[in-house]
């Protein structure tokens, strides 16, 4: 069968909502797109632990501390589910990690912003996890089976992340004047970067069209962003906080909130490595990887020694 025929059969299966599984034939570009997207997603979960990890030792109560600890642990698990999904496509874990540490692979730019106050932990759970959930719920229906299944697990775990974040914001908003200001300040700083998480606008996004045809993505960046804004405005109102966008306004005709222009220059600047924390995030990731090297090597040496000893025993017997 020619590649052209195979591609046609492949597209027909996608159109019929038949999931693609690991060992099945797929176009090279589909495989490459998935490896890139899934590994970027995995890197984001891993790097995403850094800004929040920053506050674990300084959480204001034991209740907040165990919640944050559990959340950060979940994110490590999410990274692992996703690396595993990428590996079903023939990627090697080592190579993926190397691409992250050498800056060859990207991760979500949102994690290049600093967490300067406790309210940032609330804002991250509420907005950043909220935006991630919107994207991930869509991806539970992605066409590649192992990716879709990883997303189902992840989405089940995510909902507590957003709720614990919102609860932090709620407590601060109902607190002293200073606490309320802290919450507002966090919203001011995280709002626009959260909207940028959905990626460039559809007009600018080069991959969107093919990804939609392959049903890797099922909604466009702009659709998801609009959906996120629509559902978040009421939550901000409930907190008594103001979203930092003077152009934000309900539009009766479209049934959506209109919103102001996003500063894409800032977005691309952070993507290119010039955000406030890009260098620090990579430095911390490299350090964690290097500091753990002896553990990985020792565990392997131990396992080899044990299996050699076991083999010797059976020979003697």
């Amino acid at each position: 069968m020619s590649t052209h025929d195979l591609e046609q059969i492949f597209q027909e299966r996608i159109d019929a909502e038949i999931k693609i599984e690991a060992k099945e034939w797929m176009p090279d570009a589909y495989r490459k797109t998935l490896i890139r997207q899934i590994s970027q997603h995995a890197h984001s979960e891993i790097v995403g632990m850094l800004p929040e990890g920053n506050w674990i030792t300084r959480a204001p109560s034991l209740r907040r501390k165990v919640a944050l600890l559990a959340k950060v642990q979940d994110e490590a698990g999410h990274g692992l589910y996703l690396y595993s999904a990428a590996e079903t496509l023939g990627a090697e874990r080592d190579d993926l990690i190397e691409q992250l540490l050498t800056g060859k692979a990207k991760y979500s730019s949102i994690f290049n912003y600093p967490t300067v106050s406790w309210a940032d932990i609330g804002a991250i759970g509420w907005l950043v996890d909220g935006a991630a959930i919107m994207n991930q719920v869509m991806l539970t229906r992605t066409s590649y089976g192992p990716y879709a299944r990883a997303m189902v697990r992840i989405c089940k775990e995510e909902s507590f992340h957003q709720r614990q974040g919102y609860e932090i914001m709620l407590a601060l908003s109902n607190g002293t004047e200073a606490q309320k200001n802290m919450a507002q300040d966090a919203l001011n700083r995280w709002w626009w970067p959260s909207l940028m998480m959905f990626g460039p606008s559809d007009k600018e996004s080069s991959h969107t069209e093919q990804s939609m045809r392959w049903k890797i993505k099922r909604k466009s960046n702009d659709e998801l962003r609009q959906q996120f804004i629509n559902q978040t405005v009421g939550q901000a109102d409930f907190l008594g906080l103001t979203i930092p966008d003077p152009d934000l306004k309900w539009n009766e005709a479209t049934g959506n909130y209109d919103f102001g222009a996003i500063d894409w220059e800032e977005f691309w600047n952070v993507v290119k490595g010039n955000g406030p924390c890009n260098k620090e995030r990579i430095r911390a990731s490299i350090k964690a990887h290097e500091d753990g090297a002896w553990v990985r090597e020792a565990a392997l040496a131990h396992a080899e020694k044990r299996s050699a000893r076991a083999a010797q025993k059976t020979q003697v017997a």
Binding site: Q73, R93, E297, L300
Partner: protein, 94 residues
Amino acid sequence: MKKNWPLWEVFIRSKNGLSHKHVGSLHAADAEMAIENARDVYTRRNEGISIWVVESDHITASSPNQNDALFDPANDKVYRHPTFYNLPDEVKYI
């Protein structure tokens, strides 16, 4: 030295009475570590009461390219299904 820990497939029994079900995979140096990692990664919310791990290399899978040859023979054997047999409606409990 660049060497990945081997890959393991993880199967979890969520409760007695149900089979173990594939939930995903992970890297571990040996079987014991694979069980411990599977506990940490896949059962943080009481998802299981029993874990199996199998080194991925030890699984032999049928090839999707041979699906026709493997599964076609079952397609034209309707007589393996109960609805193939015509019985009058009056006959009960069958």
